[in-house]
């Protein structure tokens, strides 16, 4: 068992990170290449200023009009995305592992705070699942893969929560925690999770099209 744990805590972490970063870079190059081939004139009006202005506007809570039209969904989604990165990156247990591997460190969240925030992430994921079942226009666009992807995000947070409390089967829960975290990283470039790359690109395009060409706002 220890050699298996050594593998998933060692080489498998590198494999996951390489697939995650490499996959996103590959995708970025692919998108930029496709634009050059099919609609190269887009490059003539995309500017850094209008791109950043649009990305910035969409980062301000409840600033875009569509955010104000569905404030509950938008608010939960906004908090969810912050917690999705904040909790794992500032979790004391994770920082300890990174510190021992790379001798770098940063301030950690209080464990009890992280515990509650983890429950917040889980609650948001349940909300997203219920929304896909209950809201007709969303249900219409929902397939099995969408529920599966919610599960992929749920697993590392749920097992992390259970592992912290050490209630049941600690070793197995922790092994599933590590594996599901790696699975999530690996899946990002090959699923709709790649919106972590596509979203800013879309804003850059829309921001420049509206801001630079039409002299209008895109938020």
């Amino acid at each position: 068992m220890n050699s298996f744990i050594a593998f998933i805590m060692g080489p498998m972490v590198w494999i996951s990170v390489i697939i995650f970063l490499g996959g996103l870079i590959f995708k970025l190059v692919g998108i930029l290449g496709a634009v050059r081939q099919k609609e190269p004139y887009i490059y003539s009006y995309v500017t850094l200023k209008h791109s950043l202005r649009s990305i910035g506007a969409w980062l301000i809570p409840f600033f875009p009009r569509s955010a104000r039209l569905s404030p509950v969904y938008y608010g939960i989604s906004y908090l969810f995305h912050i917690l999705l990165f904040l909790v794992p990156l500032f979790l004391a247990s994770h920082i300890v592992l990174i510190n021992e591997a790379f001798q770098i460190s940063w301030p950690a969240l209080n464990d009890s705070v992280a515990d509650v925030l983890t429950l917040g992430v889980i609650a948001a994921l349940i909300f997203f699942a219920v929304r896909r079942i209950r809201v007709p226009e969303v249900k219409y666009l929902t397939g099995a893969m969408d529920y599966l992807l919610i599960l992929v995000v749920l697993l590392p947070f749920l097992t992390g929560f259970l592992a912290y409390h050490q209630w049941v089967a600690y070793q197995w829960i922790t092994v599933i925690h590590i594996l599901s975290g790696e699975l999530m990283l690996i899946i990002i470039p090959f699923s709709r999770f790649s919106h972590m790359l596509n979203a800013p690109l879309t804003r850059a395009y829309m921001g420049s099209e509206f801001g630079h060409v039409r002299q209008a706002r895109d938020w």
């Binding site: 050699s3 744990i5 300890v96 021992e100 464990d111 592992a163 050490q166 600690y170 922790t174």
Partner: protein, 129 residues
């Protein structure tokens, strides 16, 4: 009525007996390292049996009670007369870049990985009290 009362009494006694047994097992005193050298430890001291390790390491104290000089391990020298925290401070220092927490983690976990036995995950040593 009398029957059901007796049955409920029986159930209460049964649960009390099983519960006492369970909690006395769950809360049994595990031999732990005392984290006195840490300012505000986030986790309970690691579960550790000194006697078991003396036996497993064939009385070679220097495996854990090692001596380093200028970053080099001095073979066959041991340091049982020192606390770990005498050499390892809480933060990395120029004369000893290995802080106390990492010293424990690396020494215990790496040995358990190398030998293929012993706990390696956080909560396997830092068992909740």
């Amino acid at each position: 009525m009398a029957y059901s009362n007796r049955f409920i009494m029986f159930l209460i006694v049964l649960f009390a007996a099983v519960g006492t047994g369970f909690f006395s097992y769950a809360g049994q005193d595990l031999e732990r390292l005392d984290p006195w050298a840490f300012d505000s430890p986030r986790r309970p001291g690691a579960v550790f049996s000194h006697d078991d390790h003396i036996f497993l390491l064939d009385d070679d104290c220097s495996v854990c009670h090692h001596v380093y000089e200028n970053g080099e391990l001095i073979p066959d020298e041991s340091s049982e007369d020192l606390y770990c925290s005498d050499c390892h401070s809480l933060k990395p220092m120029p004369d000893n870049p290995m802080p106390l927490e990492a010293a424990y983690h690396n020494l215990c976990r790496d040995c358990h990985f190398d030998r293929g036995e012993g706990p390696v995950l956080c909560g396997e040593c830092h068992v909740k009290e």
